[in-house]
Subunit: 434 residues, 2 copies
């Protein structure tokens, strides 16, 4: 079996994305035992940094050892018992994933839907909450399948008013776009490592508040193999029904991350090193500056794509800043274009799913991949590839527009001096008015 | 936040253990997209190597993206439906874990128990299979909590005879001790990365045969978000009940690892690089040679411990070669000894769980940690530490006996020339007779 061979790639998909070399180096550190004080200190430091990134004062923020959907499933496991009503507003593939997980857990799932490419008016969700009185509302923040972002603050208020728990899939947004866990009254938020945090896939950082913690406490079981009967250590019988999963049992995982350090799984050592380093990079850059960088790259990319003669997919008023969806021009073979980009230029962009498969390209500008040099490289490569396929792409104008946009964002950056960055829609309006 | 600081450790626990620098380096390779042909080739190569390590001709062998218990839970999810009878022979903590997982899945769990420190006579399990007629028998191969190993071949034959599926937790044994998936008629086997395979924790490699695959096919659902209704791609309704977990749904994960490459989670890129490199190292060394190395280190360690004046815990006839359990001498504070070993010598050994907590030390000789230099270092450190704590450890004799044992294994190695290696019990008998 030959040596591991990994070609250099420019990854402009909605994940997994490129990883800062500092994160890769962190993973090459030797192993520490899971209860070594040096390791539990790393756990604690990671928890502290996660709270800053989630913008929360919650007591708990830690990763589940699995990819993003493991975190989503863990949170839904924690909150859902057989027959509970769960409301899922669906506006893309990952909404259906929440439906699927909740259904498998035995929930009575109420689905409201919006056409792919749009999001909900907050009031539509609030009305559904009034109507169905769900125990849990589960919603996607950044829907990568359609490149849309759902505003959450009004939904958070309504959930608190009607006594529902609000679970948010912020896999695509945390680390690239504002996610205000506390301000928006989000009860549980799940992130992904392989997107805007720019850490390899394999962990699902999450946070939850005291409301969720009380549910966990009521359902907590201690593993039988950990009882010491001679010391009479049979735990009290819990009030709530058992959580259906052992691996994704947040009540037990919390005890592993908490001061009691009760053994559960063996924490994924090297991945935790990577997450710690990735979070350090996020905080060194600063959240505000990082969000601005993502807005700037989006602006450069979208200005270039428009000048090339391509149409963006979906409602611009709710565009997800870190994923740009482009309509495949009529008569162009979507897969053939992606194939040429990868094999001639070493650049990866994504297809979509279900009804949008083959109809749009999804271009991610996330985390370490979100660099203007990547955007320029993509625009040149895409223009040439489209020409090869017979579409009259205006590559020269695209690159000129992108460079112009980059210069504008620099000037704008000088003026911003740390102020909150507006949406790219507003930037465009602003610049059009100048 | 300071730079990641990881002290060098000698890890002599039952996992996570030290990792070969080649594996650490592999993880520092850049990210590839999950459908990049270079990456799917790495997936395929990993699958091929896993089959060799599991000693199987099964069609499927791949990791679940989670730690070992995620793999166990995934296999039990696949096979168990509400009300199914599951037999679990328990002889330590990890047997209880199987009970717990199966119970949470709604199985009617039948438990037979043996005192910790022993294993079952195969016929005891066969009788229980006859009595309870389980759909699934779930059993631990190497029980690290007690350092015992359960023979499986007779249980495999009985399961086939009575139509039960045999699920084996081989987390502690694969890569260090013989695990003959096909010869022993094991229907599903789950390994761990962080033990004898010497890869960081975070993946659970597993394999299953056609019998299990047929169950998966009957329960398979395609995610709603992947349907393309305009192309009429609504999948046929499956016959079996849904698998309760989406994340651990082997029917869906299999479609991701198979030729259809249907999107499920995002494969943990860097961890897969690590697993691939770890498996390469296993196969370069050769399974037979690797198993011998583990027996040799066990022999050196146990000869040293005896000469030091310590008693081994448990029935020697079923000792797990890769974990040696030592009785804590009366009056000695188990935790204080472990603390001194870690903080003065940089050596980690483990406590146990439940009724054995504080009563035995568990010393692992697994994978890359299984080196005679580690064993010598531990014996010297443990002898000095025990003296410090007031126990009259004979450190000089321990080291002399260990060195003598090492030389014996060298001579024996020369004579073996690839022959199957006997148990350390038999080695001791053999050497005593010489």
């Amino acid at each position: 079996m030959k040596d591991l061979t990994v070609a250099p790639r420019i990854i402009m998909t909605p994940g997994p994305v490129e990883v800062d070399p500092r994160v890769l180096r962190a993973m090459s550190s030797p192993i520490l035992g899971q209860f070594d004080p040096l390791f539990t200190e790393i756990m604690q430091e990671t928890m502290n940094m996660l709270k800053l990134v989630f913008q929360t004062n919650n007591r708990w923020a830690y990763p589940v050892d699995g990819t993003s959907r493991a975190g989503l499933e863990a949170v839904l496991h924690a909150l859902i018992e057989q027959g509970d009503v769960v409301l899922v507003p669906v506006f893309g593939r990952f909404g259906y994933l929440l439906v699927e997980i909740a259904t498998r857990l035995g929930a009575e799932v109420k689905v409201i839907e919006r056409p792919w490419g749009t999001v909900f008016e907050p009031d539509e969700v609030v009305q559904a909450i009034r109507k169905f009185r769900p125990k849990v509302v589960a919603v996607v923040h950044g829907e990568t399948s359609t490149g849309r972002m759902q505003p959450l603050a009004d939904i958070g208020r309504a959930c608190r008013e009607y006594g529902a728990y609000l679970v948010v899939d912020a896999v695509a947004t945390v680390g690239g776009v504002e996610v205000r866990t506390d301000d928006w009254l989000l009860d549980a938020v799940v992130a992904g490592t392989q997107k805007c945090l720019s850490v390899p896939a394999g962990l699902a950082p999450l946070t939850y508040n005291e409301r969720v913690e009380r549910v966990l406490e009521s359902r907590k079981r201690v593993e039988r193999g950990l009882w010491n009967l001679e010391e009479g250590a049979v735990p009290d019988a819990p009030r709530g029904s058992p959580i259906l999963s052992n691996y994704l049992d947040l009540a037990q995982i919390q005890d592993y991350w908490g001061p009691s350090r009760l053994n559960h799984h063996t924490e994924a050592t090297s991945m935790l090193y990577a997450l710690r380093e990735g979070l350090r990079l996020v905080l060194e850059e600063g959240l505000e500056a990082r969000f601005r960088r993502h807005r700037q790259c989006e602006f450069i990319l979208t200005e270039g794509l428009r000048a090339m003669g391509l149409a963006l997919f979906g409602d611009p008023g709710c565009k997800l800043p870190v994923v740009t969806c482009v309509e495949v021009p009529p008569g162009i073979d979507s897969q053939s274009v992606r194939h040429m980009l990868l094999h001639e230029f070493g650049i990866e962009i994504a297809d979509s799913f279900g009804p949008l498969k083959g109809r749009i390209w999804r271009i991610g500008t996330m985390g370490y991949s979100c660099r203007k040099q990547n955007v320029f490289a993509l625009l040149g490569a895409l223009g040439a590839t489209l020409r090869w396929h017979g579409f009259p792409a205006d590559t020269a104008s695209a690159l000129a527009a992108a460079l112009h946009a980059a210069k504008k964002t620099e000037a704008w950056e000088d003026a911003a001096q740390g102020a909150a960055f507006p949406s790219s829609q507003r930037i465009r309006e602003h610049l059009a008015g100048v």
